[in-house]
Assembly symmetry: C2
Homo-oligomer: 407 residues x 2
């Protein structure tokens, strides 16, 4: 397998764009990524597009890449349409990496793009509900609801049933960590405070307000212990990346970044004390990269909720099991901390147009490793890690992907 | 890139299964393919699932592979969900091939699965409509309809608007070939006659009746010159394939088949006399395989309609441009002919559950090259080719894939 370089990347602002199409968002990100790499679109040899829900939101199923890229004059090359719920565009990046690592092609485009907002809000939330086994969804709602009642939570999610299902599942994970390790609501609120702060420094972020821990705790309850300001919003947006073989990379940039690990795996049944999906995917990535958590300069972790991020500190090996709360309390994830996490603002503040999230995480690592992250720059950043999870089965994601990039 | 072997394959009967789920159909094909290879599911290292329309038919978007395979206890491995309209599972096969050719994994599962029938027929036809640029669909209907009126055709498709759009586009291709090369309706009917005959020999086929040319011409008009018996039906089904690295293949079989070419490409704008998608994809495949059309023992070609198959004889280089009519008249595509085409019955008789079609084509080549095709066996078959196209833009597919397998 050959070494693969990242030579260009860009993203749109994330937000609510009722008047912009998938094509329009995709074009902006792709043109930006091509420009950042100094590459003409005619040089692309393969394109992989990650999108999770267009079939259910805009009706565009089956040939999303061809329609979006064809509209901007890209064609005559292999195009892959792929989806893996919230990990759709990490999956796309992984496939593009594979095309180049294999020696088959030298230059690949990855696009993550999503339009979740729709005039009919029900359609947006119903689409998100397809990230679970739809035949089992009713059962999952019942289980999560029973667990919530047992926890004495009477809050109702205002955002629709599917949203409620996901946040119920994430809330159950949050409560479990509290019971098991004494983690507090305040610690979850600190994670959200940090991400909202980082978001305030990112011009691409959907939400740029700063909030105190008190304001976050006082925001409307979603599912105990999660409040609205601890949860990722829905949104629209796109992020694109250009990948290149080692031998061609120097043609395009003096600052190539190297893909040290590209790992994708899925849930499997396991006992409560056996390694879960997050532990497994991290171990695989560190082995592939021949690096460990001690080498990581910064990370973008899948903070669908603040609690999910805190659990990921442990699963990624940034701190021992059960010490995620201390990791946030000690400022380890802050700028100047040991491993700044979600300097982009994360899903919570930057936004979470699901099929665009994976490539947007990688875009933040791209900026940081090139020293182009402005006010939120992590000084001396050499190695960046992304964790992108998708779907839910029981109390973990169905699919997870970890990428490690380095100078 | 390493040599890749096909070591197992199976498919369900294609048909109308209102009472069977995606999981149920997928399980049958996967269990059959594993059994045919003598491999336990725990040995699989990666799985790629092609499905075109579940998001729009069953509501299962985003994590189709994880849901279908997870239900049968397969997990903990990378799973890719991919779609490319009617070429979805050829795309899946191509990605699985890439995983093994690259050296990353040794054993891969490919599943193509589709459920198009739904209690609400409108939903089925609306789903098929997503294989075009949905924003442009109205325009395409208008163009095709104008062309049809100019041709004096007053037939209306009974099958719903989306169906009508596709068949209108295919009918325009058929009329163009008639104008340009003098091809006749009878020649299209002969293609259908042949495929219905082959279908009668295939226990997995959705339709097993034989029809005469006269009966085919007299069947209800769809869009001039196409009649119902010249068009592929909608249907449900699944087909699965096991791919393996050369070094492991001998563990599983004494009869490995080799993937000589795995090519995927997309439409690009071109002049009327410049090579179109079909010509390009064939040329790429022959170059990759270091073989030519004269080496092909049999082929499965994407006969969405009889006219499409006739045009593909020429695009695949089986006969010169404009001589597709003569190719069928001379019996070249029959058993005993130079290159038997669609011995499975093709999309027209075997059926066309769109996301399962590519792997089902490959399953037929698998049977034929192993000498296990029974009454429809092509004697001495050594090299098999599949062409699988998807979506429509103007007068050609948006995406096409050609695979060449050999002993």
């Amino acid at each position: 397998m050959r070494r693969v370089a990242v030579v260009g990347a860009d993203m749109t602002h994330f937000g609510k764009y009722l008047d912009r199409s998938l094509k329009d968002l995709g074009r902006e990100a792709v043109e930006g990524a091509l420009a950042s790499a100094g590459i003409d679109k005619s040089k692309l040899q393969v394109a992989v597009v990650g999108n999770a829900a267009a079939g259910l939101v805009t009706g565009q199923e089956m040939v999303r890449a061809e329609v979006i890229l064809g509209d901007m004059g890209i064609g005559g090359i292999p195009m892959i349409n792929t989806e893996n719920a919230c990990a759709s565009s990490s999956t796309a990046f992984h496939l593009a990496w594979l095309y180049i690592a294999s020696g088959m092609y030298d230059l690949a485009l990855v696009l993550g793009v999503e339009k979740l907002y729709h005039q009919d809000k029900k359609r947006s939330f119903a689409a998100i509900g397809a990230a679970v086994d739809v035949e089992m969804a009713e059962k999952a709602v019942a289980i999560a609801s029973a667990d919530r009642k047992a926890a004495g939570d009477s809050a109702t999610a205002g955002a629709g049933e599917s949203r409620s299902l996901f946040m119920d599942l994430y809330a159950a994970i949050a409560r479990n960590h509290m019971r098991r390790y004494g983690t507090t609501k305040e610690q979850y609120a600190r994670v959200a405070e940090k991400n909202h702060f980082y978001g305030s420094l990112n011009a691409h972020a959907q939400y740029r307000e700063r909030y105190t821990v008190e304001e976050i705790l006082a925001s409307p309850p979603v599912a105990d212990p999660l409040t609205r300001l601890m949860c990722s919003p829905i949104g629209d947006g796109a992020a694109a990346i250009i990948l290149c073989s080692e031998e061609k990379a120097r043609q395009f940039t003096t600052k190539p970044l190297w893909v040290r690990a590209s790992v994708l795996t899925t849930h499997q049944e396991h006992g409560a004390d056996e390694p879960g999906l997050g532990d497994r995917v991290a171990a695989m990535a560190y082995e592939m990269a021949d690096l460990g958590p001690q080498d990581v300069s910064l990370a973008e972790l899948h903070d669908a909720t603040a609690a999910a991020e805190l659990v990921l500190y442990e699963e990624m090996g940034f701190c021992p099991r059960g010490e995620g709360g201390r990791f946030i309390d000690d400022g380890e994830a802050d700028l100047g901390g040991r491993i700044p996490v979600n300097t982009s603002g994360g899903l919570i503040a930057k936004g979470h147009p699901i099929g665009a999230t994976g490539t947007a995480q990688l875009y933040e690592i791209f900026l940081q490793l090139r020293g182009e992250a402005g006010e939120r720059q992590v000084s001396g950043a050499k190695v960046g890690l992304t964790e992108n999870g998708g779907g839910m089965v029981g109390n973990e994601n169905i699919v997870a992907s970890v990428h490690i990039l380095s100078l």
